[in-house]
Amino acid sequence: MRKELSDACQKLKIPVGETNQNLYNGSFTIEGGNFNCAGIVSTSIKSILQKLGIPGDLVRKAAIVSYEAEINVVSYAKKAVVNLTVVPGSVNIEVIDEGPGIPNIELAMQEGWSTADQRIREMGFGAGMGLCNIKNYSDEFHISSEIGKGTHLKMIIQTP
């Protein structure tokens, strides 16, 4: 199992991270504009959490929030780092991107608000639901953004 994970990480060029029973700490990178790779990081996160024995419904929540965040990075940012930290009691996912930033977070959080182009819509996204979905599936959600620098998301999913 450990080898599978390591092979998968090697293939994706991401660090294996430190695993210690139900603890994990690792980072991934997402390349902006690379639509073909959108979803690879969340697929990896899902597989790591499954291997750590996190319950299926919580794995799904974590996979959904990281996937929507990944779609946002691919759609709007230059690149991003995703930090996954699993500690007893919670799964913590941080997405720190280098990008244009969000001028009005309150507006961006409104369902239906979108600046997506045709390419994003063709993928089945861009309807202004991403951040809402992230917020709704997270037990705790923080967002901050600086124009011209980037956006920082933090999602916490509580585990038993």
């Binding site: 969340s42 996979a63 996937y67 929507e68 089945g124 809402c132």
Partner: protein, 124 residues
């Protein structure tokens, strides 16, 4: 019902997952907007969609969707097929339109993975 029954009801072609036709399915969700699928679809459901790119497979994987039914005779790209094989997600394609596909399955006992959304903002 079994996925093989779904195949027969929809006169569908199996593109990926011929070996998974024994799988039991009870519920379904239909949409072309993946954010809606992420918001509402439940694990173990069929996903009825007209979208054929790799994000459909990623979305299905994230949610543990049982199988993807492509409607309106849509054919997936080779990248989509390869990813579905890798992640072991069956893909069937049917010539029926989305409405007919849903109706034919519903008539045989498949129900929506949720009957309606809870409130006006569409949150579950």
């Amino acid at each position: 019902m079994k996925l093989s029954d779904v195949k027969d009801i929809l006169d569908a072609e199996v593109i990926v997952g011929e070996e998974n036709l024994d799988m039991e399915v009870k519920t379904a969700f239909g949409a072309d907007l993946m954010s809606d699928v992420l918001a509402f679809a439940k694990s173990g459901s069929l996903l009825l969609t007209g979208l054929t790119n790799t994000q459909v497979i990623r979305t299905a994987n994230v949610l543990d969707i049982a199988a993807i039914i492509l409607v309106r005779a849509k054919q997936p790209s080779s990248e989509t097929i390869a990813l579905a094989r890798e992640l072991k997600i069956p893909i069937l394609t049917t010539k029926y339109i989305l409405f007919e596909t849903a109706g034919r399955l519903y008539a045989k006992g498949i129900v929506g993975c949720l009957p309606k959304v809870e409130n006006t903002s569409g949150r579950n």
